[in-house]
């Protein structure tokens, strides 16, 4: 290994190749307007400004296991204010997606957990099943927690049923798109395409 190897930034290239809009990371000029504009900035381990600098510094493990990209609420303040029009929100989501593929999501990251629940629910029938998704969310952190949350949210659930926003019969599978098998074929095709695009 040559002496210069430690300065070769393979991680930036990896991000450019595999992360959605990753080629924009090098355009960041570290002005910090995204970090200052983020309404959740206090709550994160790393702000976008920091994440981009870490990518360029080759800190692969710290970046991919960070909770930062999972905390993004997609408010788009950063994109709107970025003087270089870097698509920051999209890159953060791209990083989350890439970390997920590599299995590097921090354990018990609530956003990641919910995203998985949402996907499992949606990919079954092509429609969101409000009832099972809601219950899945309530019971995400264990049975006792789930019962407590369900009792707390009782009146909301009843109101949704009353106004026709939720159907108790959904527990038996629920509504779906017209062509479920076509929908599944479509998802499979999309997965194949993505597998060839991202290594």
């Amino acid at each position: 290994m040559s002496n210069t190897a430690k300065y070769r930034n393979d991680f930036l290239k990896e991000v450019e190749a595999n992360v959605e809009e990753g080629e924009w990371v090098k355009m960041c000029m570290q002005c910090g307007v995204c970090a200052g504009s983020c309404p959740l900035g206090n709550a994160w381990e790393h702000t976008p400004q920091k994440i981009f600098m870490m990518i360029r510094a080759g800190k692969r493990d710290e970046v991919l296991s960070s909770d930062a990209m999972w905390m993004c609420t997609s408010c788009y303040n950063c994109i709107v204010r970025c003087p270089r029009e870097v698509p920051i929100t999209h890159i953060m989501h791209g990083l989350a997606h890439y970390a997920k593929r590599l299995g590097l999501v921090p354990a018990n990251q609530p956003t990641a957990k919910f995203a998985q629940l949402f996907w499992n629910n949606l990919s079954k029938r092509g429609r969101i099943n409000e009832l099972t998704l809601g219950l899945g969310l309530y019971f995400m952190n264990g049975f006792v927690e789930g019962i407590k949350t369900s009792i707390k949210m009782q009146s909301l659930g009843l109101n949704m049923i009353k106004t026709g926003r939720m159907n108790v019969m959904e527990i038996f599978g629920g509504h779906s798109v017209k062509d479920t098998s076509g929908f599944h074929a479509m998802l499979q095709k999309a997965e194949e395409i993505e597998a060839t695009r991202i290594k």
């Binding site: 000029m29 570290q30 002005c31 910090g32 307007v33 970090a35 200052g36 504009s37 900035g41 206090n42 702000t47 400004q49 920091k50 709107v80 204010r81 003087p83 270089r84 029009e85």
Partner: protein
């Protein structure tokens, strides 16, 4: 009717700021015939609105005085104020230029005594002071205005104020029947010295220039510091008139930002460094400044000015583009929020006053004016053979400081002289 003799050996200089005056004078002092147009009632331009120049911290009035002296002494320059170019046709050495002359309603009898201004009552925002105070409907644009002649605001024409002004004039200088005139000029070469305008700070919504009284622009600060300016040279908070001793400067307000101006305006870093010295000048040890920047671009030999300012303990530098400004409702203090790139520390810093170092943009949109001249993405005129006998001088060509604008104007003057010499040679 205004009589102006022009031939295709005449150079037209459009814009009577520092660049236009320089370009016109250099050509005229080489013996060329020059017409100098200015759309405002007086020559002087943006430079006349500055308190001090960097890096020497001297007053622009002195250079203005020298240039006016040169203009008065030179019969080759014809100055037309309240004049705007409306159309340009023809080619190198043979341009036909249409010029619109707006009425001043005051003729050359005016002695600038000011009786008309005393007589009228209506007031309007004072453009010269960027609207920081009001002026009368009959006014002298500023104390060094050239021509040294009052102007009637077109808004008072047809009102009682106009008649009052006329009645007050001892010299019969007020002519309420003046009309807009159109002129056709035969011109050999055109120098566009149309200059710059400060970027509209209201557009930078997160900084609240339109919402918070104590957020001002760098050009407004220059007017405040002027002893003859709207605050009599005192740097105060617009909200309560208290002295503003602890001031923050936000760099790149509009510049280097793809949402506003893509280019670096080049002068704002030096302008801010200069303005930090105003605080020390006015308040001594009590004056404090904090500069929020992306990076300081004190171009070439100005680096030593930057070094000098950095040595001052009362002047701090924070590497951060401020995310937004909010207002402390109790005392109207602006609070700057963001993250410091050096250490990634989050801050919410409170100040007496915030100055936005606004960028430079061209004052004229040549494309919409239908003038066939090559401009770059930022609207500045490019030097291009396609432009033929038309040249840019000063800030019409790029964001420049005064020194470079004057150099640039002198160069443009020489280019225009070359065109005129070719025309003269061909005509024998």
């Amino acid at each position: 009717m205004t009589e102006v003799v022009a031939t295709n050996q005449t150079i037209l200089v459009v814009g009577g700021g520092i660049s236009g005056m320089t370009a016109a004078l250099e050509a005229a002092e080489c013996g060329k015939q020059v017409i100098l147009l200015e759309k405002n009632p007086s020559l002087g331009g943006r430079v006349s609105q500055l308190y001090k120049y960097f890096p020497k911290l001297c007053m622009p009035t002195c250079g203005m005085e020298i240039n006016l002296r040169r203009i008065k002494a030179n019969p080759n320059v014809r100055v037309l104020t309240l004049a705007e170019v409306t159309q340009v046709s023809g080619t190198t050495g043979n341009y036909q230029v249409k010029v619109k002359l707006s009425p001043r309603y005051v003729n050359s009898n005016c002695t600038a005594c000011g009786a008309c201004a005393d007589a009228v009552t209506a007031e309007f925002p004072n453009e010269y002071n960027y609207g920081l105070n009001n002026r009368k409907g009959a006014y002298l644009p500023f104390f060094m205005a050239y021509p040294q002649r009052y102007v009637l605001d077109p808004k008072i024409i047809g009102t009682a104020d106009a008649d009052k002004a006329q009645a007050a004039c001892h010299c019969g200088a007020i002519d309420l029947d003046m009309q807009t005139e159109e002129m056709d000029l035969q011109i050999g070469s055109i120098i566009w010295a149309t200059g710059w305008q400060p970027f509209d700070a209201d557009k930078i919504q997160p900084y609240g220039h339109d919402r918070f009284a104590n957020v001002i622009t760098s050009v407004e600060m220059e007017r405040m510091m002027d002893p003859m300016g709207p605050t009599g040279g005192r740097l105060v908070r617009p909200s309560d008139g208290q002295e503003a001793k602890n001031v923050a400067f936000i760099q790149c307000a509009g510049s280097r930002d793809r949402n506003y101006l893509k280019h670096c305006s080049r002068i704002c870093c030096m302008a801010t460094l200069k303005q930090t010295t105003y605080l020390r000048e006015q308040f001594g040890d009590a004056g404090r400044a904090t500069v929020y920047y992306i990076d300081i671009r004190a171009i070439d030999r100005f680096e030593n000015f930057y070094q000098k300012v950095m040595k001052d303990d009362n002047i701090k530098f924070i590497k951060s583009k401020v995310a937004n400004v909010i207002e402390n409702k109790e005392n109207n203090n602006p609070i700057l929020r963001g993250v410091n790139t050096e250490g990634y520390h989050r801050y919410a810093d409170e100040y007496d006053l915030v100055v936005l170092a606004v960028g430079m943009q061209p004052s004229v949109d040549f494309k919409s004016l239908g003038i066939d001249i090559v401009v770059n993405d930022n609207g500045f005129i490019e030097q291009n053979p396609h432009n033929g006998g038309m040249f840019a001088a000063g800030c019409a060509s790029d964001a420049l400081d005064v020194n470079r604008a004057v150099q640039n104007a002198t160069a443009s003057s020489l280019r225009a002289i070359q065109v005129i010499n070719q025309v003269a040679g061909a005509e024998g």
